[in-house]
């Protein structure tokens, strides 16, 4: 199952490593962006299945509102990936959950698979343990 994935991450090295991991898994990384405005532009121009959203971006802690907007209004599945999961402790409407950074390939793969299965309405029994689900 391949998907069109948008990486929203302001740390270039982390974004690049994530892109490689996702491409190795056969996914199509449509873009990596570092701020909320660029993310909206990409989503308006391109179909995106899944967005991996960091919370602290180059324009500040804009990730939470961005994730909510993408998930609730723009039909994108959203997984937060952050070093500070406490920022979304209470959950964010319209998004799936949060993966704590740093993480590894296996955890990314499991979390992305889980998100995509849910997006396609496939039954998913168990969420990967590293992924904190909302709601």
């Amino acid at each position: 199952m391949t998907a069109r994935i948008l990486i929203i991450e302001d740390e270039a090295l982390v974004a690049m490593e994530l892109r490689f991991v996702l491409e190795d898994l056969g996914h199509d990384v449509v873009a990596t962006v570092a701020d909320a405005r660029s993310a909206r532009e990409v989503v308006q121009e391109t179909d995106v299945d899944l967005a991996l959203v960091d919370i602290h971006l180059s324009d500040g802690p804009t990730g939470v509102a961005l994730g909510r907007e993408l998930g609730q209004d723009l039909g994108v599945s959203v997984l937060f990936m952050t070093a500070n999961p406490g920022m979304v402790r209470g959950g964010v409407a319209g998004t799936i959950g949060v993966l704590s950074k740093p993480t590894d390939e296996a955890a990314v793969q499991k979390a992305v698979d889980y998100a995509l299965r849910r997006r396609q309405g496939q039954p998913v029994l168990y969420a990967p343990p590293e992924l904190q689900l909302f709601g």
Binding site: E17, A83, S100, A107
Partner: protein, 507 residues
């Protein structure tokens, strides 16, 4: 006879004089209220002389007199000095027939005194300070009438009431002056209100800070001095306190004389009378603007620092993975380093300074919470943990975090590669126990491949675990290669996990 030589009195002359002087009445001008009393007494007794006489040291001084024409006389010719030794009153119908006065120059010569009646003036403490007395130059063999003596007694009591009231009033004025002196020298603003909240007092600092004219903030005018956004809240809080009598406390912005609003801490307490009724409110305003700013800056810095620390781990981890991409032969090595870095990052998540928002989602910041989080990756698909943590929980600090993280990361990766976690159904229990001054962690693997004995070669992971426990934490690490699985016992000093706090407690 001199009062100081009297042996029957139950007071000392020093106490008596102190009581007299506390009234602060000696050598004050004549006053109508007291003059009226002696005039009335003289007329009522139909006598030429009446006096309010205060017995001082070596002299008697008259607050009021009629028929004498002097304000003081020496004590050695005094009738009253004798009277104050009497219980309450003294009557001398004919001085020439009284051993105490027959030789008194005032009797033998001018003005030839014969009759004396005196009622003792007693201080609130019961000490005699003088008399209200009446004198005549004619003998009165029948003495005064009962009505005359009753009048003398009642009027003497009135004299003391007057004196006591004056003393109380003077005391109050002094304590008020003291309060104002203290209030005006305080760095805080001080204010006071009537029970209904009507502001009627502000100290000098209030006017200095706000720059408003004296009295202009009396009544309800105070509220206008605060930031428009804070006024409703301040008003509502104040109203509620007035109704309930609860202490008032609020942070609001007060306008300084230069127009700048400064964050201020306002507090007030009610003063109650004996029956519990509020008689006044006393309040203060303290400028906390600088404090507030530095708190905000600190909070921001700490938050920023927290984000940075965690982000650095993520960047290092990504850097290792990216570097290894160019070298497929390094993949395994890079993977091992990365997972160690990730374990460290997790441990530090539990010990770095946190703000409310940066706290990890897991509730408590304890050893068990961290270990449970670390072992999550090894859980069954269903989420059932395969490493079960039991026993006494503990807190750990940043100094212990690295060691704890590396130790259990190595044990878990090893178990996943070769031990209990490498086989389906294999399990690990980790029991942590506080035993007197030791903290013992026992890692027991079961259900894995049968153990044939200690491995011939030990890897770097094993060295890391040993180094963590024996080098960093100052404990002992023992490995038992039991047939059903590896058992590892880390025996630590109880203080090893929180050395800094232990040191603080000892200090």
């Amino acid at each position: 006879m001199n009062p100081t030589t009297n042996n029957t009195a139950d007071w000392s002359e020093a106490d008596r004089l102190a009581a007299l002087r506390a009234y602060d009445i000696l050598d004050t001008p004549r006053e109508g209220a007291f003059d009226d009393i002696v005039n009335l007494v003289a007329r009522h007794f139909d006598a030429p002389i009446a006096v309010i006489n205060l017995i001082d040291e070596g002299r008697q001084w008259f607050k009021a007199e009629t028929g004498l024409g002097v304000r003081e006389t020496p004590l050695d010719t005094s009738f009253c000095a004798h009277a104050i030794l009497a219980e309450d009153r003294m009557v001398v119908p004919d001085a020439t027939k009284d051993d105490r006065f027959a030789c008194n120059p005032l009797v033998t010569a001018e003005p030839h005194l014969r009759f004396y009646a005196g009622q003792v003036l007693k201080s609130a403490e019961g000490l005699p300070i003088g008399t209200l007395c009446v004198l005549d130059t004619k003998v009165r063999p029948d003495g005064p009438t009962p009505l005359q003596m009753e009048t003398l007694e009642v009027l003497a009591a009135q004299v003391m009431t007057q004196l006591d009231l004056r003393r109380a009033l003077a005391g109050q004025q002094q304590s008020q002056a003291q309060f104002r002196a203290i209030a005006d020298s305080m760095p805080q603003m001080v204010w006071s209100t009537l029970p209904d909240g009507f502001h009627d007092y502000y100290n000098a600092r209030w006017y200095e800070f706000t720059g408003v004219p004296d009295g202009s903030t009396d009544g309800e005018g105070w509220n206008g001095m605060f930031h428009p956004e804070d006024q409703d809240r301040a008003w509502a809080t104040w109203r509620r306190c007035l109704e309930t009598g609860d202490p008032y406390e609020i942070e609001y912005r007060l306008r300084r004389h230069d127009g700048v609003y400064r964050w201020t801490l306002g507090r007030a307490r009610p003063i109650r009378n004996e029956t519990g009724e509020i008689t006044r409110w006393f309040g203060t305003c303290t400028d906390i603007d600088d404090l507030k700013r530095s708190d905000q800056a600190k909070e921001l810095l700490s938050q920023e620092l927290s984000h940075r620390i965690k982000n650095i781990f993520a960047v290092v981890s990504a850097l290792i993975a990216l570097s290894a991409r160019q070298h497929p032969e390094a993949k395994e090595f890079a993977g091992a380093v990365r997972t160690r870095i990730n374990a460290l990052a997790r441990a530090h998540e539990f010990v770095r300074p946190h703000t409310e928002n940066s706290r990890p989602t897991v509730g408590t910041m304890t050893l068990h919470a961290f270990l449970t989080d670390l072992f999550k990756a090894y859980s069954e698909l269903t989420g059932t943990p395969r490493v079960v943590v039991t026993g006494d929980d503990a807190t750990f600090d940043d100094q212990a975090a690295t060691s704890v993280a590396l130790l259990f990361h190595e044990l878990a990766t090893n178990a996943a590669k070769y031990g209990a976690l490498s086989a389906e159904g294999g399990k690990v229990t980790l029991d942590t126990r506080r035993l007197d001054d030791r903290f013992v962690l026992t890692w027991t693997e079961t259900g894995g491949p049968a153990v044939e004995g200690a491995p011939v070669q030990t890897g770097f992971g094993t060295s890391l675990a040993t180094l963590s426990v024996e080098g960093q934490l100052g404990g002992r690490l023992e490995r038992k290669w039991l047939r059903e699985g590896l058992q590892v016992v880390a025996d630590l000093p109880a203080t090893a996990l929180s050395r800094r706090r232990a040191a603080q407690n000892a200090a």
